[in-house]
Amino acid sequence: MRKIHIVFQREFNAYFDTAVAYVYVSIFVALTNTFAFYIGNFFVRGQADLKVFFQYHPWIYIILIPAIAMRLWAEERKSGTIELLMTLPITTSHAVIGKFLAAWAFVGVALIVTFPMWLTVNYLGIPDNGVIFVSYIGSFLMAGAFLAIGSFVSALTKNQMIAFIVASLICFILVMSSYPLVLGFFRNWAPDFVVSALEAVSFLTHFQQITQGLITLPTLFFYTSLIVFFLFANTLVIEHNKAV
């Protein structure tokens, strides 16, 4: 545990050592708010809730989460620091989990910085703060699942750009997977069980439940199992091709 914590600390501090953290958090806040106000018509709706704020998170995460995840391993492999890291007395899973948690915590910081939105609705009306709290948790969980996917993809390549594009694409498919556009594409050639599986793994379906204030066991299981699965795959990939 202590070793995971040390890796976490280094990684987390690294975000704030450079301008990356400040630029990222600013963009994160700007994007989430822009979507809520201009596309979600936050004021026009005249309702004291943050539904329109959370509603666009999956779409924003398609771009913003892979942007954080892309460097996790691709950069280590490209610069050779992976050799430094993996010859220290830590296991691959220590490193994978520590790095993942640091990135996740960083996204958490970005989410927390959006709190003026929460204050605003409380100033304007009497929202259901329980729903908002649950939505924040849900958004954070979803970000974790995206991150685990992004971290896994980042381990597959030395090229951060490729890691970003591939991770974005996978996240896009997962968000869109309940939409006819994606389902229709697969329905033409893939067997039925693939199509129904895709429908079930839609991030959107799960997330929409959460924004209504409902965290169900299947949804929790869905996000955590995605995280566990992709971090496990991430570990295997690092073991296999760290030296290549």
Binding site: K3, I6, V7, Q9, R10, N13, A14, D17, T18, S79, G80, T81, E83, L84, M86, T87, L88, P89, I90, T91, K242, A243, V244
Partner: protein
């Protein structure tokens, strides 16, 4: 336990190409083993296997009697490793990087600061401890790598080209540091600089195409060259024949060879029987016969020549066919 590093028939393939074939070696405490070999010979791969970064396809590695495959964390904790090119997290400063490494290695708070200070002092990093690694010169970056390798005072040091790209002063300092640590550790150093082998290594291994092609002290490797310990001398042309006959008749001389003849001077090379020293006898002979000699010296085998002899076979066969 004096053999701190032991490898048993380690083999590693990348695709169809075997980068390392059946390498077995051992390094004792107090020994500095030099890894020599052309680029791509398998030096770095061998080091990566010993440090546990790569798993070998076959064979095993023992670190202080601990099997790397069975107990990687214990084995790795006994090794200090400077990877090729001394990679480091560029956004960090040497101090924060060394703190990180120290904590991973189990030193906290006061002990951590003490270990970092010692390593920084030994590698001369003090002036730049709080500067971004990105902004450091190549020499300082290499020292940061050395500092984290020696930070926990490991029993085993694996240094992949520690002096590559350094200026002569820095090279001297690094070699001095290695020599100072040598008595208490088992050290492997890979290098392209053959003089370095003579300067710091007590033993050297030449690796070519993934295999050990030569193993011995610098002296014994140089002894592979036929002219090692031969005596070269240069005399006037008119004395040449006389002294040749006299040299042939000396006990301990097996052959005399004429190397060159110009400007009225002849250069001779005298080969001893079984590389014993014959320079005294020759000097006495010259004095007794009162022959004017311009120069007289003992030739030493050059490691460069040994290196070429044992590693260039591929090149030679390719060019002749």
């Amino acid at each position: 336990m004096t053999e701190l590093i032991k490898t048993y028939n380690i083999t590693k393939k990348f695709g169809d190409m075997a980068a390392v074939k059946n390498i077995s070696l051992s390094v004792r405490k107090g020994e500095v083993l030099g890894f020599l070999g052309p680029n791509g010979a398998g030096k770095s791969t061998t080091m990566k296997i010993i440090t546990g970064f790569i798993k070998p396809d076959y064979g095993s590695v023992d670190i202080c009697g601990v099997c790397m495959a069975d107990n990687p964390l214990i084995a790795k904790s006994k090794i200090g490793y400077l990877p090729e090119g001394a990679p480091a997290y560029c956004d960090m400063t040497p101090r924060t990087l060394l703190h990180f490494i120290a904590e991973i290695r189990g030193f906290y708070n006061h002990t951590r600061d003490k270990k970092v200070a010692q390593a920084a002092q030994k590698t001369g990093l003090y002036g730049v401890l709080d500067q971004n690694i990105d902004t450091l010169s190549k020499g300082y970056k290499r020292r940061v790598g050395l500092a984290h390798a020696i930070l926990h005072d490991p029993d085993i040091l694996i240094l992949d080209e520690p002096t590559d790209g350094l200026d002569p002063n820095q090279k001297y300092q690094v070699r001095k540091l290695i020599s100072e640590m040598a008595p208490h550790k088992a050290i492997i150093v890979s290098t392209h600089i053959l003089e370095e082998v003579e300067a710091v290594c007590s033993r050297a291994i030449i690796i070519d195409k993934g295999q050990i092609v030569a193993d011995g002290t610098a002296e014994s490797l140089m002894g592979r060259m036929p002219y090692h310990k031969s005596v070269a001398l240069s005399v006037a042309q008119e004395d040449a024949d006389k002294i040749k006959v006299a040299l042939y008749n000396l006990v301990g001389v097996i052959d005399v060879e004429e190397i060159s003849r110009h400007n009225g001077r002849v250069r001779l090379r005298v080969f001893p029987k079984s590389q014993i020293s014959i320079v005294d006898e020759i000097a006495e002979l010259v004095r007794n016969q009162s022959i004017a000699v311009d120069e007289l010296f003992v030739e030493r085998g050059k490691l460069d020549d040994v290196f070429r002899q044992v590693t260039s076979s591929d090149f030679l066969t390719n060019s002749s066919s």
